[in-house]
């Protein structure tokens, strides 16, 4: 299936890649001196990447999350902005930093949408043999309000954020920091990044804990405390044309110990990768 899909993508886009360096434009050069293409000249940033990728699901009895299409829909005004689900109000912007008030949805809920139910036989072969249904508890999206600070320079880019629940879903908060350093060599671009996020006990316990009423002999109750997730990421891209980009990204996130020790968590790490062609409108 994956091989067929990859072949289809390659066949579809091969002419584009082969012709990328020899575009012939048959038009009169009335303005033979052209400017510099600046994608940021528009308030909108709309793009789509088509390829293949996966984000692993750390939950027990769960399926990984396939990534075939990655949409990028954003709008940036002087104050307000929308960035792929995040809504922001920029209150300060100077040569040192950009400070914005933000709202977002906590998307850890996505993991819980790809689980299934299994039956576990306990005390097999004994008089006390029982079949217990094990279902990963359901969790909701949380609407979070917070603030974000962005800063950049020749030293790289820094993103600091703090978000708290305002939807009475988990009642907790998260504080995160990430640093990235982009390196460009003409069309080639490489960006390693590292990040860490502190998750409060309430947030951690809502998503990764097991309430007594959700527990059974095969799924014990568990209360998760606070913890720090750490992530590494490496993104590389090659600019094929002014619109098309070939991108590859790999990332790994180490779940905090409190979450990783939960009986509903099977993997301590969440890994993700994606390779595909991106088009920016």
């Amino acid at each position: 299936m994956l091989r067929q899909f990859t072949r289809a993508i390659v066949l579809l886009l091969a002419p584009l890649v082969l012709d990328a360096e020899e575009t012939t434009v048959l038009s009169a050069p009335e303005n033979a001196n052209l400017g510099v293409i600046d994608a940021a000249a528009s308030n909108w940033r709309i793009g789509m990447a088509l390829g293949y990728g996966v984000r692993t699901n750390p939950l027990i009895q769960s399926a990984d999350i396939p990534i075939i299409v990655d949409l990028d829909i954003a709008w940036f005004g002087e104050r307000f902005f929308f960035d792929n689900g995040d809504l922001g109000l920029t209150v300060a912007d100077n040569e040192w930093l950009t400070f914005s008030a933000m709202t977002r949805f906590n998307s850890d809920r996505v993991f819980f949408g790809r689980t299934d139910t299994r039956f576990v036989r306990l005390n097999a072969g004994t008089a006390n043999q029982i079949d217990v249904q094990v279902t990963v508890p359901d969790r909701d999206y949380a609407l979070e309000l917070g603030a974000e600070i962005l800063s950049d320079g020749d030293w790289g880019q820094l993103q600091l954020a703090a978000f708290g629940d305002v939807s009475a879903t988990h009642g907790g908060y998260e504080v995160s920091a990430s640093y990235s350093y982009g390196m460009r060599q003409q069309r080639w671009y490489l960006e390693p990044s590292i990040g860490a996020s502190y998750r409060s006990g309430k947030l951690n316990n809502y998503y990764w804990g097991v309430l007594p009423e959700e527990s059974n002999p095969a799924l014990p109750a568990y209360e998760a405390g606070a913890g720090i997730n750490v992530e590494f990421r490496l993104m590389g891209s090659y600019q094929l044309t002014s619109n098309w980009t070939l991108s590859v990204v790999a990332e790994v996130e180490r779940m905090n110990d409190a979450a990783a020790a939960s009986p509903i968590v099977a993997d301590d790490y969440v890994t993700g990768f994606f390779a595909g062609f991106g088009y920016r409108f």
């Binding site: 052209l34 510099v36 984000r55 930093l97 800063s151």
Partner: protein, 128 residues
């Protein structure tokens, strides 16, 4: 048998325009940022026409043609240039200043003063 008559007043430009001179340039994209505000580009320019004639290659940086070919239907030219803004290479044929083919060299900036455009969202479904 067909008898084809071509008026004597027809120039290479007329024929070339109708028959589409092919002009190819490599590379055609330069990406700049604040660390690298220009591209040092080695252009390989190749053209081809189904009609023998007198053809000239131009760019906007010099008033005279970069190079001309006489009684030719194909040619190549190499040029090294520091590029900071987009421009065009174009071909003309004998008897006319009208371009019969043109290729655009694009310059793109990856820099933006708006830091928000470089922020990362932390959603499970976003990976790029």
């Amino acid at each position: 048998m067909f008898l084809v008559c071509i008026p004597l007043s027809v120039t290479a430009a007329d024929v070339a325009t109708a028959s589409s001179v092919q002009l190819k340039v490599k590379p055609v994209l330069c990406i700049i940022d604040r660390r690298t505000p220009s591209c040092d580009m080695d252009f390989l320019i190749a053209w081809q026409s189904p009609v023998l004639g007198y053809y000239c290659l131009h760019n906007p940086f010099v008033a005279v043609p970069l190079r001309c070919w006489s009684e030719a239907d194909a040619g190549q030219h190499e040029e090294r240039r520091i590029v900071e803004k987009g421009f065009m290479f174009w071909m003309t044929a004998e008897g006319s200043d009208e371009p019969v083919a043109a290729v655009e060299v694009e310059v793109m900036t990856s820099d933006t003063p708006d830091r928000r455009r470089k922020r990362r969202t932390r959603h499970v479904w976003d990976i790029l």
